[in-house]
Amino acid sequence: MNLMTMLQQLTGGMLVSIEIFVSTLIFSLPLGLLICFGRMSKNVVLRNIAAVYISIMRGTPLMLQLMVVYFGPYFLFKIRIAPAYSFIAVLIGFALNYAAYFAEIYRGGIESMPTGQYEAAKLLGYNKFQTFFHIILPQVIKRILPSLTNEVITLVKDTSLAFVLAVAEMFTIAKQIASSQTTMIPFIAAGIFYYVFNLLVAVIMNNVEKKLNYYK
């Protein structure tokens, strides 16, 4: 196998990694907000369910969670697993796991908001929905951006865990090529890929932070 074919195959894996990354963000960011609402709810049952959920998701390895999502349907309900399910299982596993982390980040941000903002909104007649989405959330996002950046960078590297379900993402392919061709090159390429990807994430997040610096 020459270098070109190697890189070609790695590029395919790269696209899958990016797909996992983007889908995880799309699903887990809103889901995390929902879980955060549960976690902060006045309803004790809801609050406890969210707390246990977060505790389990953060307390067990993501790799294990991916396997549970993938093999669970078969072991629990004897449903035959279609091969294409492995990619969906990865997306579900990542979304569920990252939502738990995001929920806690949102919660930290929301709880750091001064009560005066809620009181001012109440006196001006904003309803709860307007108060949250119009007054509170924009400020929360600014506050939590540095923690979000951390989590997103971790996600880039975590996409490599999809290899446990044999999803053909960057790392899975690099590993395959490395063992079949007995060469280090795919690993080096993979390393460069993850590093550049994260550099990009850091630059983008930094720009977003700067954009939000129009107020304090």
């Binding site: 009181e119 001012a120 006196l123 129009y214």
Partner: protein, 251 residues
């Protein structure tokens, strides 16, 4: 017309009685100042009057309409939709402004009239510009709160409250978070509002200001109204608690 009536208000935090049977009325065009030492319950009274706190017992009326009434020794509030509507009668200026930091000065002022009251944009903008002019902030409409001094921020928050066209304006120690040299500008704004017969309830530490601007002063001490009357009556009173309190300001 009575814009605000509070009758036999009681409020307790844990086992601490903060308000013990307080009654007061605010007539249209009246300026009421509430003074008293820290912990006397004056801020709690204001928070109860603006429904940021609920009362434990007593009656609360806006424009003669009951927001809360007493039943078997407990206050019962009317339906939320009714309360929300009544809330539109008043505005509140906070001690620490509580402007929305992510909104420009202009947006702070026009957002609620547009979004909540659903008024015409053109009319709201015109009104906001008038208010900014009145507050001496014409140049600042595009600034963000953090770019303003405390006194300017407080003037924006007064404009924000006035933009809702409230019938009563409450002030919770509006100058306490300001440097002494900035206090004057806020007091001047409030004085101008008084001259326009704006109905106001002001919790304040500024004795001379209360004396100058208020039609009626309530002196609170340990959860009760220790004394009330016109500024002259109060400042010449022989009430020992009142004298002691005033004495601290004279020295």
């Amino acid at each position: 017309m009575k814009l605000l009536e509070m009758k036999h208000i009681k409020k307790q935090f844990e086992n601490l009685e903060v308000l013990k049977d307080i009654s007061l009325t605010v007539e249209q065009g009246e300026v009421l100042a509430i003074i008293g030492p820290s912990g006397s319950g004056k801020s709690t009274l204001l928070r109860c009057a603006t429904m940021l706190e609920t009362i434990d017992d007593g009656e609360l009326l806006y424009l003669g309409e009951k927001a809360a009434f007493s039943e078997n020794g407990h206050a019962v509030y009317v339906k939320n939709t009714e309360l929300k509507r009544m809330q539109g009668n008043y505005g509140l200026v906070f001690q620490n402004f509580n402007l929305f930091p992510h909104f420009s000065v202009m947006k702070n002022i026009i957002d609620a009239p547009l979004r909540v009251q659903k008024r015409e944009k053109e009319e709201v903008l015109k009104h906001a510009q008038e208010l900014l002019k009145k507050m001496g902030l014409e140049e600042k409409e595009n600034a963000y709160p953090y770019q303003l001094s405390g006194g300017q921020q407080q003037r924006v928050s007064i404009a924000r409250a006035l933009a809702m066209k409230p019938k009563i304006l409450f002030f919770d120690e509006p100058t306490s978070a300001l440097d002494p040299e900035l206090t004057g500008e806020i007091l001047k704004v409030i004085k101008n509002l008084a001259a326009e017969h704006m109905t106001m309830v002001i919790v304040t530490h500024e004795m001379n200001f209360a004396r100058n601007v208020a039609d009626h002063i309530i002196f609170m001490d340990q959860g009760v109204i220790a004394q009330q009357g016109t500024p002259d009556e109060l400042f010449n009173s022989n009430n020992p608690r009142m004298r002691e309190f005033l004495g601290k300001f004279d020295s």
